[in-house]
């Protein structure tokens, strides 16, 4: 194909978009709508994921040590926990610090409750705060830490605590949201594809005659296909660009609104973090859908 012919296909493709007037508008609109819904769901899933991740990462295992544990023993236990492959971080919080943390956490309400406790009479045990790499392993790691008591006759571990039940429930919920979200997004993408291929098929049906004439004057299949290809890509690009613009504007507005409300203990994943990826994904998908739709629809008309 010469460069001039390529330009001709490009020009014809663009002309066709305008020539088909309302059909093009219909195709573009269906791409806008499908990709917009798709985008909303992707954003929802991304935010739920990030929220879930945040919640996950707050899950800690508190390992309370028995009161008879000395520094050397404590060091041994800490090393043992640190050496577990699932564990990412172990922090030692001594009883003094523990009392201080509790006072801070309870604030004014706790003044009465904690009154009279001094460093000498501190009821809080020394604690090892354990963070794990993969939140879902929490209960398994907790069990392993409890088992450490079997190694040492002094029973250095008094108690192991984590948000039992709550954690498992949280994981179940986040996993469900992720799975449903992805299934939904996949389904919508498929639906958008069929919708668009159908719209383009109608456009092509209207030009059946035109294609027949092209073949009669000796046009090759590639020559006939190219302008439709360009047309599909253009419609896809146009629809996805508008869709992305709408989506991002809306998201930005939502982000600002939530950011202004200081009482909300929640923030959206910033647009700058996901914008390029999501925008690229939407544009790519739009073009692919358009091209796929036009190529699929024209195929059977070329067998004249």
């Amino acid at each position: 194909m010469t460069f001039r012919t390529f330009l001709r296909h490009l020009r014809e493709g663009i002309k066709n978009v305008f020539r088909n007037g309302w059909m093009s508008v219909a195709s573009v609109t269906s791409i806008i709508v499908s990709l917009f819904i798709l985008g909303v769901f992707v954003l929802l899933v991304v935010n739920v994921n990030s929220f879930a991740d945040e919640a996950d990462s707050q899950v800690q295992i508190s390992t309370f040590l028995s009161s008879n544990v000395d520094d050397a023993m404590r060091q041994k236990v800490q090393t043992a926990i640190e050496s577990m492959p699932e564990v990412s971080k172990v922090t030692f919080v001594d009883k003094t610090q523990g009392l201080k943390d509790l006072r801070e956490k309870l604030g004014a309400d706790g003044n009465d409750l904690l009154e009279g406790y001094t460093d000498e009479t501190n009821p809080i045990p020394d604690t090892l705060k354990v963070e794990v790499i993969e939140p879902s392993t929490v209960s398994f790691v907790a069990g392993k830490i409890e088992d450490l008591n079997k190694q040492y006759s002094s029973q250095p571990i008094y108690k192991v605590r984590y948000g039992k039940g709550t954690v498992e429930k949280l994981f179940k919920v986040t996993r469900l949201i992720r799975n449903i979200g992805f299934a939904f997004v996949a389904g919508l993408a498929l639906m958008a594809m069929f919708l668009i291929s159908n719209t383009i098929r109608v456009t092509i049906l209207a030009r059946r005659r035109e294609i027949g004439i092209m073949k009669l004057v000796g046009a090759t299949n590639a020559f006939i296909r190219w302008p439709f290809f360009v047309e599909g890509a253009l419609i896809g690009l146009l629809g996805s660009a508008i869709s992305a613009a709408l989506l991002f504007t809306g998201y930005q507005m939502l982000e600002n609104a939530i950011g202004l409300d200081v009482t909300l203990n929640f923030h959206l994943v910033p647009l700058s973090d996901i914008g390029y990826l999501l925008g690229g994904f939407i544009l790519l998908l739009g073009v692919l859908i358009g091209v796929w739709g036009s190529t699929m629809s024209i195929r059977k008309f070329l067998k004249v």
Binding site: I213, L216, V217, F223
Partner: protein
């Protein structure tokens, strides 16, 4: 030029459109194909420009073995054959000029040459001053002239005309016939299916009559031979 050897065509529904036709048409001939409706005339024409493939037998058109042609090669054979129909088959959204230019764009001719050649043929068919009209803005005869211009623009060796005057009044029909005659005179083979008794009997050419899928008559300067 065009040669058929024992050509059979059976459609999937069981119709035997052609039953063992053998014929030879030489370069520069002008041939009328006549016969009742449904006798196989259209199939005969379609086989030449490879819209249909023979069930049996051999067809060669300007050296190409049409029956055994790879689909990829079909466009290149068609560039050598101009086709004209009763219903003109112009692209409705393109002007007369663009319709004719289209046949050259397809073969990727340079723009300069397209311009020159399109104006040349539009002049030949007498439509140079209506080049920028859309088909809807032209009369039936004028539309057929555009179709003829498109058929001859890349100098085909053969023109296949399937009832080119079928939709036109007698006077316009004669103008179209004179145009085809002139194109034939300039060296293009013409195969024309027709129901027009007056034309066949007045402008005497070779006549091939097809009935029930067989050639029943082949006369050098023949007559129409039917009463309809």
């Amino acid at each position: 030029m065009i040669e058929m050897q024992d050509v059979w065509k059976t459609y999937p529904n069981g119709t035997h459109a052609l039953q063992g036709i053998s014929v030879k048409i030489d370069r520069n001939e002008f041939v009328y194909i006549v016969g009742p409706s449904g006798a196989g005339k259209s199939t005969f024409m379609k086989l030449i420009y490879r819209e249909e493939v023979p069930t049996k037998g051999q067809i060669s058109v300007s050296g190409f073995n049409i029956g055994k042609l790879k689909p990829r090669k079909i466009p290149y054979v068609r560039r050598n054959i101009g086709v004209i129909f009763q219903d003109f088959r112009l692209l409705p959204k393109l002007t007369a000029y663009e319709n004719v230019a289209f046949a050259l764009e397809v073969i990727e001719a340079p723009k300069r040459i397209i311009r020159k050649r399109v104006i040349e043929v539009l002049d030949l068919v007498g439509l140079k001053n209506k080049a920028n009209r859309l088909p809807a803005q032209l009369s039936g005869g004028e539309q057929q002239r555009v179709a003829i211009a498109r058929a001859i623009v890349n100098n085909p060796t053969v023109i296949i005309a399937d009832e080119p005057t079928g939709n036109l009044d007698p006077e316009t029909s004669w103008e179209i016939m004179q145009l085809l005659d002139e194109i034939n005179f300039r060296g293009t083979t013409i195969v024309m299916a027709t129901h027009n008794k007056d034309i066949v009997n007045t402008m005497r050419k070779r006549v091939i009559a097809i009935e029930n899928g067989n050639i029943v008559r082949d006369q050098p300067r023949g007559e129409y031979g039917y009463d309809f």
